[in-house]
């Protein structure tokens, strides 16, 4: 929380802190957008796998993503997309260990996951409105 207040560039509204995860779209716009076929779909989990060797770091998948979720590796040579840790998501594990119990593993169904892919700006806006009501307009 301390970091979120100090670093305002990451958090448009103070105190509004949220996770920004890959929504696991069922139509894979990022994979379709890749010009060099560096992205593929894992058989077991259905998550997107990045081939770091092939990736040219063009950023087309970021623009294709409805939530702008893929991000560049700090060295700027390839892209990072959630691969669900090969079916053992570590984020869920630590959330359970920390007893926050916010994250949960669910099986993949035939649903419109793409609907829940949203940009950080949208999520911030909705969250801030929920937390501060009309006052949120001042922060946004």
């Amino acid at each position: 929380m301390a970091r979120s207040i100090e670093n305002k560039s990451f958090h448009a509204v103070p105190g509004v802190d949220f996770p920004h995860f890959c929504a696991q779209c069922e139509d894979y716009p990022c994979v379709k957008a890749c010009p060099v076929e560096a992205l593929s779909i894992a058989n077991k989990t259905g998550a997107v796998i990045v081939d770091a060797e092939k990736c040219i770091a063009c950023g087309k998948c970021i623009n294709a993503c409805p939530g702008r979720i893929p991000h560049m590796h700090p060295n700027g040579k390839f892209i990072l997309i959630c691969d669900l840790c090969a079916g053992e998501p570590q984020c869920v594990k630590v959330c359970r260990e920390g007893e926050w119990n916010v994250l949960k593993r669910v099986s993949r169904g035939n649903r419109s996951y793409g609907l829940y892919a949203r940009t950080p700006e949208e999520i911030t806006r909705d969250l801030a409105l929920k937390m501060y009501g009309e006052k949120a307009e001042e922060f946004l």
Partner: protein, 622 residues
């Protein structure tokens, strides 16, 4: 007396103001269980002989409010409203959520049978065995929210006065009708709380014709004793645990389907079913959650799912409209079906429909039908009393809904429901407009299309159902499968919420029934005898019809013509219900449930089920 039942029924004659308690034989309760099954039996016994002559909106019709043995025990209690339907002229078991059924059982009754017709508006007040018929002049004409508020206040005052030692009373459970029911609109509902409604069947109109504004019940006793309490407790836990696991249901209710069914399975009504696909992300459930929800979880007594949310329009033109978050049917029929794609407008229309006491599904259907006729130039602005009924114009549709509820101008015509108004408009304009009416046997089809083949109803689900277009009672094979009408009869007869039974092991509901009543009922027995009996009775009464409408299975056991047009867009573009396949499937279904090639129940099966009198009565239409 069988365990799990209170054992008494309350019979109220509104003409003579006589109130008496009646009991039914144990065999009847064993065979017909309760709710929809028992309603069918009671109606057949009392009205069956002259069924086709009985006017559903006249004083002879009987209005039933029945519970089942599982009401109050199975998480999510409901109450089944039934009678001769003014829509299909048959029997429809229409259930509504809320505490009414539980309060009624705690008051010591399994159901209320209302006969006759009051001279002036009345409401019924039941407190255990103190029952009175009270004057309802002061609530007649009031909308849903006002009715609930006034009656709750009044009933609590009476109770406090009579039982001063008890202190403050919790509110009684109330079933009531809105202005639409009072004006005998065929798409009126019997409502509970602010926005729960028993919509299919049009029993609000029956209640209005009897001038019965409301029924308020307060029970102070316990629920009837059960055979094996330990087992019942364990089964409640099984159902609850299953419900807690269902993340999707708990978070969004059926509202999650508002986008899903349109975009994914391509079976949502769009502009009166001219299309069944839309990809409007502004209509996604997260948009509802962020823009209109003001309370995330609340539920009726004993329900673990909490699929209800409270929604309010926070700003803009429709600021202040408040109701339950529209569930999927409301989202579809009062949204895309009218060309509306924003949560705010959808909530506004849904709140208005609830206030007027109209059925969201069927009024949405008839308004969509009128809008399509306007689009095609069949109904003009003059016909519609100056309303320009353009797709997506929420205010125009709101004006039309008000006209329907008060039967003013064009509303008088549309208040007859989609089928009857289509016949009348057809006569008026000398055109076949029935092809634009999406209904089956007078009942509007639920918001799950059959053309894409990806949603749960099959191609004969609506065509062969004994409750017409009711999407919670869909015909299909195999008879003991999930999509079969026979299993849905159990939900409506045990009278509990079937949303809580999604995903529970196959036999839990029957175990539940056995543990409650101490009887032994298996899935096989239910499907092969008891449910089939209810189905045949309902079918027979549907075919006898009413004074204004009779159904011929050869003509009316079919899908609306709209379902044979190919889908114009989306991932399933060009798909349609194939007529040849429908006929083939229909033949197989007729054979499985024991109907002859004309769709009339066969003598052999009726005799086998012990329904000789039905067999004799059916002779005249064979």
């Amino acid at each position: 007396m069988i365990l799990g039942y209170a054992g008494k029924f309350l019979e109220v004659n509104l003409s003579t103001e006589k109130i008496k308690e009646v009991t039914l034989r144990d065999e009847v309760l064993k065979d017909y269980v309760g709710g929809r099954g028992l309603a069918t039996k009671i109606l057949w016994d009392r009205l069956g002989k002259k069924w086709e002559k009985i006017e559903p909106l006249g004083p002879v019709n009987i209005l039933l409010f029945l519970t089942g043995p599982l009401t109050g025990y199975f998480p999510g209690g409901r109450i089944c409203v039934s009678g001769k339907s003014p829509q299909s002229s048959g029997v429809v078991g229409s259930t509504v959520g809320g505490e009414f059924g539980i309060e009624l059982r705690c008051a010591g009754y399994d159901g209320i049978i209302v006969t006759g017709e009051a001279k002036k508006p009345v409401y019924l007040f039941v407190k255990d065995s103190d029952i009175e018929i009270r004057d309802a002049k002061h609530v007649w004409g009031k909308d849903a929210k006002q009715t609930v508020r006034i009656l709750t206040k009044e009933c609590r005052k009476i109770l406090k006065k009579r039982f001063p030692i008890y202190g403050e009373w919790k509110e009684p459970a109330i079933l009531y009708i809105g202005p639409a029911g009072e004006n005998i609109v065929r798409t009126a509902v019997v409502a509970a709380k602010w926005a729960h409604a028993a919509g299919y069947g049009g029993y609000g109109a029956v209640m209005g014709s009897k001038k019965l504004k409301a029924i308020a019940v307060k029970g102070t006793g316990p629920l009837p004793p059960v055979a094996n309490l330990k087992r019942v407790e364990r089964l409640i836990k099984v159902v609850n645990d299953n419900a807690y696991e269902a993340e999707l249901w708990r978070r969004w209710g059926t509202g999650a389907a508002g986008y899903e069914v349109g975009a994914k399975t391509s079976s949502e009504p769009v502009r009166n079913w001219q299309d069944e696909w839309h990809d409007e992300k502004s209509f996604g459930v997260d948009q509802f959650e962020n823009r209109v929800w003001i309370k995330q979880f609340w539920s009726d007594f004993g329900c673990p799912t909490c699929c209800l949310k409270v929604a309010m329009v926070k700003d803009g033109k429709f600021k202040g409209a408040i109701t339950d978050n529209p569930d999927y049917e409301m989202q579809a029929y009062l949204g895309p079906n009218l060309g509306i794609f924003t949560p705010e407008e959808n909530v506004f229309i849904a709140a208005l429909i609830d206030d007027l006491g109209l059925c969201g599904i069927q009024t949405g259907n008839v308004m969509g039908f009128a809008a399509e006729l306007f689009q095609r130039g069949i109904l003009t602005k003059k016909d519609l009393d100056g309303i320009e009924l353009k797709w997506g114009d929420a205010e125009a549709f709101a004006a039309l809904a008000r006209k329907i509820a008060f039967r003013k101008g064009i509303g008088d015509l549309l208040a007859e429901g989609t089928y009857r108004s289509a016949l009348k408009i057809g006569k008026m304009k000398n055109l076949d407009v029935l092809q634009y009416a999406v209904q089956s046997k007078g009942i509007s089809i639920g918001a799950h299309g059959i053309r894409s083949g990806k949603d749960y109803p099959g191609i004969i689900s609506y065509a062969c159902s004994v409750q017409g277009g009711d999407h919670t009672s869909t015909a299909g094979l195999p008879l003991d499968g999930g999509g079969s009408e026979l299993m849905e009869i159990f939900n409506d007869s045990g009278v509990y919420c079937n949303f809580n039974s999604f995903g529970i092991p196959r036999n839990v509901r029957f175990d539940f029934y056995n543990a409650t009543t101490g009887l032994k009922l298996t899935r096989k027995e239910w499907v092969s005898t008891k449910a089939l009996k209810v189905l045949q009775l309902q079918r027979a009464m549907l075919l006898f019809g009413g004074p204004d409408q009779k159904w011929n299975p050869k003509i009316h056991d079919s899908n609306p013509p709209r379902f044979y047009d190919p889908l114009p867009s989306g991932p399933y573009k060009g798909k349609t219900a194939d007529e040849g396949r429908v006929e083939k499937y229909k033949k197989r279904y007729y054979k499985a449930v024991g109907w002859d090639k004309n769709g009339i129940p066969r003598s052999e099966i009726l005799r086998k089920l012990g329904l000789e009198d039905v067999d004799r009565a059916l002779e005249k239409i064979r």
